[in-house]
């Protein structure tokens, strides 16, 4: 058993990728792309304070989000403010160790009031994009994801298809979904079923 095996694509994601490639037409206005395991780190603090933002700024090298449920990013490192005292750092796997070291150092400096947790193992990730992406999401998520209510860089914890997810709206019609690894299979079945209905409704 080798530690580097941790960055291998999850089996569900691999299966999902194969299924997606087989069934999604190129012109569907809807692309569903299972992502290889992302580097995910949770940064939590015991109390909301300016110190938390300062720690994040120092560790990441860019400004963390100033509004709850939003995200900022630089060079494929994304900082998502997902609950009052909780940020998710979403990066390429290669950047995870460096980011972990930086955040852990900041947490130590905060004398036990902050905690960094490796969360890469906890999630499978899917990229949903295209003109119909929001429409597909609307079949399983009760939130208002229109640009007026959820502009690009919105990041939040919610439920999709009754599964807890972290939803990150990168651009107007591009969403990244992080789903609990134990439930990703269920979500994939749901998405496959929804897409089948979706395609038939749109005459494909």
């Amino acid at each position: 058993m080798q530690a580097e095996a941790i960055i291998a694509p999850a089996p569900v994601a691999a299966a999902a990728a194969a299924a997606a490639a087989a069934t999604v037409p190129q012109d569907s206005g809807l692309e569903l792309l299972p992502l290889p395991t992302r580097g995910l780190l949770s940064f939590q603090v015991s109390r909301q304070s300016a110190g938390a933002l300062s720690a994040l700024r120092s560790a990441l090298g860019f400004e963390p989000p100033s509004r709850p449920n939003s995200a900022t990013s630089l060079h494929d490192v994304h900082c998502l403010w997902i609950s009052p005292r909780h940020w998710l750092i979403d990066s390429e796997p290669a950047a995870e160790e460096r980011l972990f070291a930086g955040l852990a150092a900041q947490a130590r400096a905060m004398e036990g009031t902050a905690r960094v947790t490796r969360s890469s193992d906890c999630f499978d990730s899917v990229l949903l994009s295209g003109a119909q992406a929001a429409s597909l999401l609307a079949r399983g998520c009760a939130l208002d994801l229109r640009d007026v209510a959820a502009p690009p860089n919105t990041a939040l914890r919610t439920r999709f298809a009754d599964v807890p997810i972290i939803l990150y709206k990168l651009r107007a019609a591009t969403f990244r979904l992080h789903v609990d690894v134990s439930l990703s299979h269920h979500l994939w079945l749901w998405l496959a079923d929804a897409r089948e209905s979706f395609d038939s409704e749109h005459g494909r």
Partner: protein, 930 residues
């Protein structure tokens, strides 16, 4: 003759597209653009079905959702949909429909004689009869007779969809007012959704000017049926081809505009339910929209001017209008002039004494006010108009108040409680005024027979006499009236019956209708298919089930998977030899070693400067005194001192703890901890980190567990001296960080190995490989439940209930050592929590037959009434080779050795009470010398 009642021209139908359909086996035809109702009327079909209670003939009475008689069963291959309104069913080629609540058919119904017994079946008769010998004696027959339509008995072949939508303005209703409001809002740049339950089309040959604004979305065949908090409106969108039969849209709008129009009230008179009696607006609608004349010779009965226009329109279409019967003495001069110009006789100050016709209407009897004998007028269509009432079901559901408008004789929108407003006819301002009641004269003086044959709610067979009986028996609240008589229930939901019903109640109780008030309307406004509510949650997607990190390798291990606490887990593995699989697995753990994927166990990390203080308040066990590297069993209680969860709390560092909670409560307990921290103790510096699906957990249990693990590249000492029972260590396994807890839920030396989720399957294989030489067995949840039963360890929720406090399971000593306050402490100090006669955890051994005691079996009280305990967990112990059980028993701990009766499902047996631990009561196997 096909389409015998169709005009040569007119209507919004496409006469070039002839559609054939079947009704009760008859082959009929209609045109594209027809509804099933218009096609039936065009073919001269008057009797469509039978009524709910009395099996009286029913025909089409309305044009849309207000119709009370045109319920049919739609049949399409494997589909069979009951109680569909013919008025809302678009005619399609090959449609097959059947009448409901009749046999063999609607014209000749075997149960039709029930109508003759109506005097014995008044409102609430079922509350007063069928007492002897019991209701259940009569129930099967009544169930067969009652009800509308038949539920399909096969799987539903259709697909359904659910959709969440958001907009700034939601307009309900696609008439003039709705379209105008939607276009105006869209022109302002608002994001607008308009829903219309039929087509958005005002009249034949015309169309509303459609806004080209991309911000306006129009959903046709979409009915808003429910209005909830925060401007959430539920809309059912019916199929328009494609694979989705029905779509449930949950629309949340910043503002809602209700352009729901108004519904015409029927007049009340004896025989008003006979097929051929129809709302005047419906008759005119069939004429204008479908080119259908519902009758050849018509009469109209009214209390307002609006019906006069209908009479004139019918006359112009070639229908012979025999008379207008107006309950008022003086109709408006314009109305009278138009009738006179058309040559229509008007009977003012008159009413209908009765109707006649075997199945459908043939004639009416008309009399002037005060006269007891009238004159007969032949007609096969009677249009009835008692004025108009705004359609305010959704407004009422939104929480909006309704105010009674005396001039209108109806309720209009009052104070709103959400951002909603009614416009157009739904507002009431533009509706025609009425000239009095919808019934004639003093209804209190009507004969019993007249009351019994004058129907208020045609769908529920509620007649005037039922309202009178309810009022007489004291049901003077409109809500009580509804429940006692079923007025306004059924698919109708009071659309045409509510106002007449409460006006009658007002008359019978000497009050004004405004003082009586209205019932609060409930969703759904129209029937919605259950499949639409289920949406995609069916079959494999019915509920989400979590998968283990070793899921992919469980198949090759021969696992028999089952769902437990939301996880798909191995219940047991393939049997070997003469033993059952569970027996073999239990014995392997007791005598050698077993391996289990333990990952579903809830895992939470608590860190921060106040972590110990926080947990001291959470657990009914001392935590602050726990040394680093050690673990302790703990109970979590609610404010009532009741056990809500149990598990291990392990101290990883001075300010860092690792908690395990039961797998079914993993998410719940994280939320519970967060709630206490955020709401009760925000001053504590604590970080709560859920780790359940961060970490895989593999459990290696048995006397050889240490030996097997020693073969792995684990950088931790495992001997008992350096890794004792209830200790925790962090290290690495072949470079992967691991956390190891030494526990003993099975009663044997056990190591729980926690490591990153994606490494779970790899470690699983490695442990299997290392254990092969020691005959390691995989074990599932069945074996684990037996192992803990042999030890007498509780399973929270199975062996405890919502009254169990720690002392009931002999765990009172845990909190008695605490000096700090904790959740539930005050409740435990109450005398009731310490009473000697409480239910206490005990063991049971069957006496006599030796049969296994059933889980759920009751221990009855010796005096016969009530129970003194129950069996909560039971089975045949592979270790002891005999049945054992645990359960709760009043004052149980003081009754060891006593023999008690045990009853289950009619079987009676006996059991000896004993201590709950059956194996290794001194825990010597757990604390092995290593």
């Amino acid at each position: 003759m096909q389409n015998s009642h169709r005009l040569e021209s007119g209507g919004c139908i496409d006469r070039t597209k002839l559609l054939s359909f079947r009704f009760d086996g008859r082959r009929l035809s209609g045109f594209q653009g027809d509804t099933l109702a218009s096609a039936l009327l065009a073919n001269g079909i008057k009797v469509v079905g039978r009524s709910f209670k009395l099996h009286r003939p029913r025909g089409i009475t309305g044009l849309g959702e207000e119709d009370t008689g045109g319920l049919v069963q739609l049949i399409d291959d494997a589909r069979s949909t009951p109680n569909v309104r013919a008025t809302q069913t678009e005619l399609v080629e090959g449609l097959v429909a059947r009448s409901v609540n009749c046999w063999p058919g609607p014209r000749w119904d075997l149960a039709g004689g029930l109508s003759l017994l109506s005097r014995f079946l008044p409102a609430g008769f079922y509350y007063k009869t069928f007492k002897w010998p019991s209701w259940h004696f009569y129930e099967p027959l009544i169930r067969r007779l009652a009800g509308l339509g038949r539920a399909p008995d096969g799987p539903d072949p259709d697909r359904y969809e659910r959709e969440y939508l958001h907009c700034e303005v939601l307009v309900v209703g696609g008439g003039t007012a709705g379209m105008t409001a939607a276009a105006a809002a869209a022109a302002r740049g608002a994001d607008v959704i308009l829903v219309e339950q039929n087509r958005v089309s005002p009249a034949c040959g015309g169309a509303y000017p459609r806004s080209s604004s991309p911000s306006l979305r129009i959903f046709e065949f979409a009915c808003a049926f429910g209005y909830y908090e925060d401007n959430l409106v539920a809309v059912s969108r019916r199929a328009r081809g494609g694979r989705i039969a029905e779509r449930l849209c949950l629309i949340r709008a910043h503002e809602v505009v209700l352009a729901t129009g108004a519904i015409e009230r029927p007049m009340i008179f004896p025989g008003n339910d006979r097929p051929g009696v129809m709302l005047a607006s419906a008759a005119r609608g069939y004429l204008e929209r479908y080119g259908v004349v519902p009758g050849r010779r018509a009469a109209l009965v009214t209390n307002n001017d609006d019906a006069y226009d209908t009479a004139v329109h019918l006359q112009r279409a070639g229908v012979s209008v025999a008379a207008i019967i107006d309950s008022r003495d003086t109709p408006a001069s314009d109305a009278a002039r138009s009738a006179a110009a058309a040559g229509i006789a008007v009977h003012t100050g008159s009413s209908i004494l009765g109707t006649s016709g075997w199945h459908a209407l043939r004639s009416i009897t008309v009399a002037r006010r005060g006269e007891s004998r009238g004159r007969r007028i032949d007609c096969d269509l009677l249009c009835t108009s008692g004025g108009w009432a705004p359609t305010l079901h959704l407004y009422s559901q939104s929480g909006g108040k309704l105010a009674f408008d005396e001039a209108l004789g109806a309720f209009v929108p009052g104070e709103a409680t959400q951002r909603v407003r009614a416009v157009g006819r739904a507002q009431g301002a533009t509706l025609p005024r009425t000239g009095g009641n919808t019934w004639s004269g003093d209804v209190g003086a009507w004969t019993e027979r007249a009351r019994r044959h004058a129907f208020v709610d045609l769908m529920s067979d509620v007649a005037v006499t039922d309202i009178a009986v309810a009022a007489q028996e004291g049901y003077v609240s409109v809500e009580h009236l509804k429940r006692y008589t079923t007025l306004g229930m059924s698919p109708d939901q009071g659309k045409t019956s509510n106002l007449n019903g409460l006006a009658l109640l007002a008359a019978f109780t000497g009050r004004s209708p405004g003082a009586v008030g209205n019932t609060k309307f409930r969703p759904p406004y129209v029937p919605v298919t259950l499949g639409a509510f289920a949406g995609r949650a069916r079959g494999i997607l019915f509920s989400k089930v979590r998968r283990l990190p070793t899921h992919a390798v469980q198949d090759e291990s021969g696992a028999r998977m089952m769902e437990l606490s939301g996880w798909l887990r191995p219940a047991h593995y393939a049997a070997k030899g003469s033993l059952s699989s569970t027996e073999a697995e239990v014995l392997a753990v007791r005598h050698r070693v077993g391996l289990m994927d333990y990952s579903p166990i809830g895992k939470i990390e608590i860190s921060g400067t106040d972590a110990a203080r926080f947990l001291e308040r959470i657990y009914a066990a001392p935590v602050a005194s726990l040394p680093v590297g050690r673990a302790r069993y703990g109970l979590m209680l609610n404010e009532n001192g009741v056990i809500v969860d149990d598990g291990i709390v392990a101290r990883l560092a001075e300010r860092r703890f690792f908690l395990t909670v039961t797998s079914g409560h993993a998410e719940l307990m994280v939320d519970w901890l967060e709630e206490w921290q955020q709401c009760a103790w925000p001053d504590l510096d604590v970080v709560i980190t859920p780790l359940t699906t961060h970490l895989a957990a593999l459990l290696v249990s048995g006397p050889l567990a240490r030996t097997v693990l020693s073969a792995l590249k684990l950088d931790l000492p495992l001997d008992a001296g350096r890794f004792p029972h209830m200790a925790v260590r962090e290290g690495a396994l072949d470079g992967v960080p691991v956390r190891v807890l030494r526990t003993g839920f099975s009663g044997e030396v056990s190591f729980e190995i926690y490591l990153p989720w994606r490494h779970g399957a790899t470690l699983w294989r490695e442990i299997r490989g290392a254990g092969a030489a020691y005959e390691l067995e995989l074990f599932g949840t069945d074996a684990m439940l037996m192992l803990r039963l042999e030890k007498g360890f509780i399973h929270v929720g199975l062996d405890t209930d919502s009254t169990t406090v720690p002392d009931d399971i002999d765990m009172g000593r845990l909190h008695q050592r605490k000096s700090e306050s904790f959740i539930g402490m005050q409740a435990l100090a109450r005398p009731h929590s310490k009473a000697a006669e409480r239910l206490q955890l005990v063991g049971f051994e069957p006496v006599g037959s030796g049969d296994t005691l059933a889980e759920g079996a009751q221990v009855p009280c010796s005096h016969g009434a009530g129970r003194q305990g129950s069996i909560t967990s039971s089975g045949v112990s592979p270790t002891l080779n005999r049945p054992i059980a645990i359960g709760m028993l009043t004052s149980g701990r003081s009754r060891y050795g006593e023999i008690v009766p045990v009853h289950h499902d009619g079987r009676r047996s006996r059991a000896r009470v004993r201590a709950p631990c059956f194996v290794d009561p001194n825990n010597e196997r757990l604390r092995d010398a290593g």
